[in-house]
Amino acid sequence: MNRFLASVALVLAAASFPAGGATAETFIDARSYPTPAAGRERFLALETRLVRGFDEVCGDTFCEGEYHNLQSLRFRCSVNAADGGVEECVWTFTGSTAQVDGSSGRIIVDARSWACPVPLAARTPLPILLQALEQDDPLHVRLPGTTTNLYEGLTGCL
């Protein structure tokens, strides 16, 4: 009986280990999923597509505010290495204003950056997310498992 209980305990411990997020390699950069060779090119192509999509809408939307020179810096996602479920995606931006102080001649710089989380459904499989966004208008495509899109996520962030 004791041996049986010990075996059950071992099985439970093994089963709960990945879910606990305790290993050092539970999550990896999406560029490395399923392998660096297979994932990198596809993900970076998506990032280029997103940047182009942002640049196309910025002038009439986000870039009409105080920071007219907003630029995308980077887009990255983390995935569960075991099953390819996306844990989180973040898109970063930067922008600035600079004004001359008429009394002193000094230039007053206001440079900012933003880290915008993507409103994903929990554990969206990476291949599903990539496929959904590999469209002509990725900012307005509905994100899998949600009723929202990248554009709406940025509206609340920038």
Partner: protein, 171 residues
């Protein structure tokens, strides 16, 4: 965010200050010799510097984890009475995102710099345009100092900005 709104509001109000703008000794290079007179030439110069920075960056600053530096903005102040440049700034940004392997959080590390152009005192506006409008403008020595913009950027981007912290609203 409330702080930002307050700062923005302070910049937009004060009509009295706007009314006295023409009597202040310093103006934006865009507004020299009168309001928006230099608009097209200035933004052409800014575009030129952005292209020069982009071309130079890959072999210089754009290496390591922060390899995506962008020149966001170029700005100069002018002493209106003498037509000489007081200071010029280049606003630069870069950012990295790293995945925390244990938690799955995507951790941002964004940086911005405000870097001063190494100008000699009392550089005439025309001399500035001539020097920075050249091909390879960032790596050629500037008149009066013998230093290039590239020389200044090497120090600035490594130190977090060469303009005083008090010049920044969001350091």
């Amino acid at each position: 965010m409330a702080g930002l709104s307050m700062a923005a509001a302070l910049c937009l109000v004060a009509p009295a200050a706007a009314a006295h703008a023409s009597s202040r000794p310093y103006v934006d290079l865009v507004d020299f010799p009168y309001k928006e007179a230099n608009w097209d030439r200035f933004y052409a110069l800014q575009g030129h510097l952005m292209r020069e920075f982009h071309d130079l960056c890959g072999a210089t600053y754009c290496q390591g984890t922060h390899a995506n530096h962008v020149l966001l903005q170029f700005r100069c102040s002018v002493h209106a009475a003498t037509g000489t440049v007081t200071e010029c700034a280049l606003v630069i940004a870069a950012g990295n995102l790293e995945v925390d392997a244990a938690t799955g959080k995507v951790m941002p590390d964004n940086r911005t710099w405000a870097c001063a152009v190494p100008l000699a005192p009392h550089t005439p506006v025309e001399a500035l345009h001539a020097a920075l409008g050249r091909r390879d403008a960032l790596i050629l020595p500037l008149p009066g100092t013998g230093r290039s913009v590239h020389d200044a950027l090497l120090g600035c981007l490594g130190e977090g900005g060469s303009l005083a912290a008090s010049h920044r609203r969001h350091p």
